[in-house]
Amino acid sequence: MSLSALLGLLRLQLRRGRRSFVLSAAGVAIGIASLCFFLALSHGVQGVVLGKVFPVGQLEIVPRKASVGPLGLGGLGGFGGPTPLDDRFVDALRQRTEVKSVFRRMKLAFPARAWGGQQLIGREVHAELIAEGLDPSATAGEDFGPIPFAGPGGSQKTCNADTECAAPEYCPWDTHRCETPVPVVISPFLVEIYNSTIAKSHNLPQLGPALLARFRGLEFTAELGRSFLGNGPGGGAGLLGAAMGGAGPMKAEPHQRRMMLVGTSRASSPLALSVPIEYVRRWNQQYVGSASELSSVVAILKDGARTAGVAAFVRDRGYDLADSGAEQAGLAITLMTALFALVSLAILLVATMNIAHSFLRAVAERRRELGLLRALGATQRDLASLLLAEAAVLGVCGGLAGLVGARLAAVIVDVCARRFVPDFPFKPESFFAFDWSVVAVGLGASILACLVGALLPARMAARVDPAAALSGS
């Protein structure tokens, strides 16, 4: 039987038994809907967790923490403590074939504080300045303004007041030379935390894309070498200074610098302001006399590169990988997805058995008809093909209905989540991601389930004895 003949006959066959067809399709649709619902949920959650909360494809390398092992020396880099992260290691890391790029981070090694915000939110906000230096190359391709995210710059013209410098430069009172404000980027994670917690509790405006754009160019003052938490004995920065790695009294007098928010960057530390690393290097040298030790190094891996080789290299050199939680989160999501997929597959299995039962019943009911078709010239293969084609159509219809059902359920869940679930950091607009893979898996599983369900009935249909069927025996 040709394909056109099969399709023509299929069209005639599908005209009858619409009710049982709809019931069978509904059974399939329920299984497919649940499968696609959970798949899309898993994709959506994975997209948020691994895409926004825990960036994938990158490793953060930190100095190994000093710990006392069984011999009292475990974890120490030789006898002098943890091996410091430095530019030599960065260069070695860049040579790895799995690594696309590397960028450095360096923490402020002394206390600082900041204040500002009057011009935008109507009041001055004071806080300890938690900042770190970031390689400007880490933000390549990102859009900042009104000044670029780059190292120290400015005309260095002698000045006594800001008005003597060309905007946006200002006149620091300690150097009396015009400087560009220190560019600052923040992490979207920080914005998210601000929006979902600080803004609400302090009745401050939330930062959407539009408002965030307005914040670009926001200037505030940083005072280096001074803390709101008080100074320690000997002119040091007290407990905070010690906690930040400051050793003993600071080597320079506190002074102020102007900073300017230039945008957000995913390369930025999640809980600190990021400034170009050269500023931090210069300030650390100035205040604590040390400017070479990096706080962490981030390696961006090439697409599809395996992390195991890089991780082993890092550990061999005496460093550790920062525990971002991404691995555990990914594992948890994978396990949840597998569990939901198993439940969905169980539903699909029941649907498949239901389909098998329906088709077996149909074959029994249509035995005479099948015998007649044989008498009219149908081969055994024709009858099997006809039944399998009916199953495939059932699969397509059930699959499409299931996809629509899953999409509707997802919309309902999203609407409920928006209304009833309190905001939390990175709460997505939608928890679901219906991409082509979900559609393909849904339709494929549906058609496969129907074909598997119809295999035995198709075999039975092909084996109908026309003589017996037509004589009614």
């Binding site: 005209r15 008809e369 078709l373 010239g377 149908a378 081969t379 003589a467």
Partner: protein, 241 residues
């Protein structure tokens, strides 16, 4: 009309097989389990004949017709249709033979109620293996077949809306759709009243006069009136009527 006795021991006219033209049944035996249904039956139907096979219920006449139509392959002996030995054909070959050379008419009509009359008549076209039979040509052939049995005006009706006689006419039109060389009819008047049955028998007579070879299994004497030959079957053996 002539009657004859044909059994395994004596097969008149079998000396020149080609002269039979249409159907040759030679020493065919068929059993259902331990029960013999046909016992060495031999029969020849020449091209253009209208042969009536008569006999009481259980005599094996319907079974013989099914074997002649290739609907049942479990038998011993030889059946040849137009020179082709059925036992040498596989499922596909038998199906092709049925689609291209045979037409079936059944006592129970076997029309599909969810299809219209025209769609029922066109059903064989799906297995004919020719695209033309599925296109407009197939529709024209269906309408011609319906016209031949005077059922054109019911083409778009469903079988459930027709009388028994009308349904049998539609079944005959379906059998005629592929222009078969041999029409095999199993009790075609069994479910019809006398008047309607006579009309159907007249139709077979006309088809036969137009050159079609027809084998009718029946237990009704009136069919014998239009048959060119009557073969009587009793206890699985062909006897003279």
């Amino acid at each position: 009309m002539r009657s004859e006795r044909i059994d395994g021991a004596k097969t008149p006219g079998m000396g020149n097989a080609e002269s039979f033209g249409c159907v040759e049944v030679t020493r065919v035996e068929k059993r259902y389990g331990d029960v013999p249904v046909l016992r060495g039956v031999s029969l020849a139907v020449a091209e253009g004949e209208l042969v009536a096979i008569t006999g009481r219920s259980g005599s094996g006449k319907s079974t013989l017709l099914q074997l002649m139509g290739g609907l049942d392959r479990n038998f011993t002996g030889t059946i040849r249709i137009g020179g082709t030995t059925l036992s040498e054909l596989d499922d596909r070959g038998l199906a092709r033979l049925r689609a291209s050379q045979l037409g079936f008419v059944f006592q129970a009509f076997h029309l599909l109620d969810h299809l219209t009359v025209r769609e029922n008549v066109r059903l064989p076209a799906y297995f004919a293996g020719s695209q033309a039979t599925l296109d407009d040509a197939g529709r024209v052939a269906a309408d011609e077949a319906l016209a031949r049995v005077e059922m054109t005006r019911f083409a778009d009706a469903h079988p459930s809306a027709l009388s028994g006689g009308q349904r049998q006419r539609v079944a005959i039109a379906r059998a005629l759709h592929g222009r078969p060389k041999l029409l095999l009819c199993d009790e075609p008047t069994g479910n019809l009243d006398a008047e309607t049955g006579d009309a159907v028998i007249s139709l077979f007579s006309e088809l036969n006069k137009a050159g079609m070879t027809i084998v009718i299994v029946t237990h009704e004497e009136r069919v014998a009136r239009v048959a060119s030959r009557v073969v009587h079957l009793a206890d699985g053996v062909v006897e003279a009527a």
